[in-house]
């Protein structure tokens, strides 16, 4: 939806650059003049928040990398050296660790927005796929970053997940040996995780570039979910959405700072303050909160390979959504039944996360002695995880094509201005132009 470029180089230097590499033109077209729907709500600010988070992680990570030692004998103490001796090292480390959690919080909100408003539907399928790729790379990066601390949980999480990959038939053993750099998780594993942890964020940055490119071809989706009628439905990205995203980022930073300065350990695990010990297994072994739902899905299947397949499929199903969804209506604002199932899905994801934090045999309701169903008590977290996993797979794999056969969507407005003005926007963007002038 980006129209003809209106950039006019004014000075000789600008003309010289524009003739050789039109980067100023490109920046103006895509980051300033880009026609953005007028009606975007605050759920749309999380894209900018995520880009900001990526920048924060890269900058804080590069500074940490100047002081970190990836040798197994020194890694844990090098992190403590950063916390105690490096000038403001405690702040940089807290920013990076809390930043990872904030990155995932923003990513989940961003993804749930995509689900609710149908942003993954045609013609934005590739945009959605690139987003899924970014999400997968984020998970890989975060997992490796957590291992770098080389605390008890770092070591044992590495052991659990790398052993899991050994379940893949034929090539599993080869993959785990390649990841380990030896015959078990040890210093070589740490070294190569360090190398990859430094690399993958830059791959993410590249895919983010593709993600924004794929967005700018059809243009943004909007809360009403309909295609825009024309330029009068849009505003230039700058200054309208740069200032709105800036405001959203400032609120996000307040939450970020609350954790960095007042609750830096709240999102972590106390076991990771103990240096890695291959001879002592901590109980329980749990990943960071943002991976807990997948941990619950993994443990709900009693077989090692099938559990791994279930976990992989739970991420893989997100990729297939644009093709499974047959609804003619994009936004769930106008799909009340779909909205209900979506809200239940959000609750189920939170419950799955809660399950992931507990031992599978633990009772959900303490003191309530249920009966034994199959391999576990009905009142155990493993059965709650199974119910949650079932709904998860039904919601992503079945409902998208089944629900449109039965639901009756509400009438969709004919233009994005109608819900606000009561009628389509008749006047061109001139009425909203010149925000810099008074009056």
């Amino acid at each position: 939806m980006s129209g003809h470029s209106t950039y006019e180089p004014k000075t000789a230097i600008e003309r010289w650059i524009d003739q050789r590499m039109p980067i100023v033109r490109f920046s103006k077209d895509h980051f300033m003049d880009f026609p953005t729907p007028k009606n975007l709500n605050y759920w749309w600010t999380f894209g900018a928040i995520l880009a900001f988070c990526l920048g924060v992680q890269i900058v804080s990570g590069i500074v940490l990398a100047m002081h970190y030692d990836p040798n197994g004998d020194f890694a844990f103490n090098s992190v403590e050296h950063i916390m105690r001796d490096v000038n403001h090292g405690w702040m940089i480390r807290n920013i990076h660790a809390v930043g990872a959690s904030m990155f995932f919080l923003a990513a989940y909100i961003h993804m749930f927005r995509g689900l609710y408003y149908g942003s993954y539907k045609a013609p934005r399928e590739l945009l959605w796929l690139l987003g899924c790729v970014i999400y997968f790379l984020m998970i890989v990066t975060a997992f490796m970053g957590y291992v770098l601390v080389w605390g008890q949980m770092s070591f044992w999480a590495a052991k659990v997940i790398t052993n899991l990959l050994g379940a893949i038939p034929v090539i599993g053993h080869f993959i785990t040996t390649l990841l380990w750099g030896g015959f078990s998780v040890d210093s070589p594993t740490l070294n190569r995780f360090y190398s990859l942890h430094y690399l993958v964020p830059f791959i993410i940055a590249g895919v983010v570039g593709l993600h924004i490119w794929a967005l700018h071809v059809p243009g943004n989706n909007n809360p009403v979910g309909i295609d825009l009628k024309g330029k009068s439905d849009t505003l230039p990205f700058h200054p309208y959405y740069t200032v709105k995203d800036g405001f959203a980022i400032s609120l996000f930073l307040i939450l970020f700072a609350l954790f960095v300065f007042y609750m830096p350990s709240a999102l972590g695990d106390v076991q990771n303050e103990i240096p890695a010990n291959p001879l002592v297994t901590p109980l329980p072994i749990v990943p960071e909160w943002y991976l807990l739902p997948y941990y619950a899905i993994l443990r709900s299947v009693p077989d090692k390979l099938m559990g791994f397949i279930a976990m992989a499929a739970s991420i893989g199903l997100i990729f297939t959504l644009p093709w499974f969804d047959t609804s003619k209506v994009r936004s769930m604002r106008y799909r009340p039944q779909a909205k209900l199932y979506f809200l239940i899905f959000v609750v189920v994801c939170l419950i799955l996360g809660w399950c992931g934090a507990h031992e599978p045999d633990e009772l959900v309701v303490p003191g309530l002695d249920g009966f034994n169903l199959g391999d576990a008590n009905i009142n155990s977290f493993v059965w709650l995880s199974r119910v949650g996993t079932l709904y998860y797979f039904i919601y992503l794999g079945v409902l998208p094509w089944l629900l449109p056969l039965f639901e009756t969507p509400l009438p969709v407005p004919d233009s994005i201005s109608t819900p606000v003005l009561g009628h389509p926007a008749a006047t061109p963007a001139g009425a909203a132009a010149s925000p810099e002038k008074k009056g």
Binding site: R84, K244, G246, F247, L253, I254, F261, E273, L350, P435
Partner: protein, 281 residues
């Protein structure tokens, strides 16, 4: 219907905030007020000095403090910080404390192994040369390093305090092997050792450390009465400092950052409202 589901979602969100807890295996921790708790908390320097005395006289015989150097005692926020000294290396208390300790080193001329007095740059030495020696002297159990102990235990300083003051006689149906002691605050599972009613297994566990503190075990230089309770609080505060020496700086920086961000958000909001004032949205 939708409202009910939304409320459910919010509740589920709150549930996720509960930490990963195993089944209730120890007593809830004793409530204590710490000078350093809360967003404006500060270490009480005199308490840190008393806590250091408890560590020095009682705990250091078995436990190491490997991540703390003598100079850290003189850092801002530390037990012996004094603003009249430019660096901890000039601090008389730090230097005299360090000089009490002997550090293995080599003779600079002959290369022979020697023991020399520590300087402020050295780290606290351990009473044992290695882990095997430590286990040998403690019935096979390893006294954990205390540099991060407060951060490495659920409950932090309250846990340390509760554990130290919480030793209790073992229930009759719990046979306690020699060299072990029952402590209801130690998270553990006594089901296999419990000889009584299987529905009433006592909480707590068996710890290899005998109750280390008692009244007047330590003599405080500032005249404060050294009860077990006081000693436990002081050493827990000292250990909290050892694990989190930057806490005061962190909270003070946090205050400045929060004020700045609130003002910044206000300015951004005003800008947003101004720029959008003519748009119907």
């Amino acid at each position: 219907m939708l409202r009910k589901v939304t409320v459910l979602a919010a509740l589920a969100g709150l549930l996720i905030a509960t930490p990963a807890l195993a089944a209730n295996t120890s007593l809830p921790l004793k409530p204590v007020h710490w000078s350093f708790q809360g967003p404006f908390g500060k270490y009480d320097q005199e308490q840190l000095q008393r806590g250091f005395k408890v560590y020095h006289d009682v705990c250091a015989s078995c436990h190491s403090l490997k991540l703390i150097a003598f100079r850290n005692l003189g850092d801002p926020g530390g037990p012996f910080w004094d603003r009249k000294y430019k660096t901890p290396n000039d601090n008389a208390y730090v230097k005299s404390i360090a000089a009490e300790y002997k550090i293995p080193d080599i003779d600079s001329e002959t290369g022979d192994p020697i023991q020399r007095p520590a300087t402020s740059a050295d780290y606290f030495p351990w009473a044992f040369p290695n882990e095997v020696a430590a286990r040998g002297s403690n019935g096979g159990a390893l006294p954990p390093d205390m540099s991060l102990l407060v951060k490495a235990r659920d409950g932090g300083p309250a846990y340390i305090y509760s554990l130290l003051t919480g030793y209790a006689p073992a229930p009759d149906a719990l046979p306690v092997p020699p060299g072990k002691f029952y402590n209801p605050y130690l998270p553990g599972d006594l089901t296999s050792q419990w000889k009584g009613d299987a529905k009433h297994v006592p909480v707590g566990g068996l710890i290899a450390m005998p109750p280390p503190l008692s009244d007047d075990r330590v003599t405080y230089d500032d005249g404060v009465k050294a009860t077990t309770d006081q000693e436990a609080q002081d050493v827990a505060a000292f250990l909290n400092w050892a694990a989190d020496p930057k806490m005061e700086e962190r909270k003070q920086t946090g205050l400045a950052v929060m004020i700045y961000l609130l003002l910044f958000a206000g300015v951004m909001y005003a800008s947003y409202k101004t720029i959008w004032r003519n748009v119907e949205h």
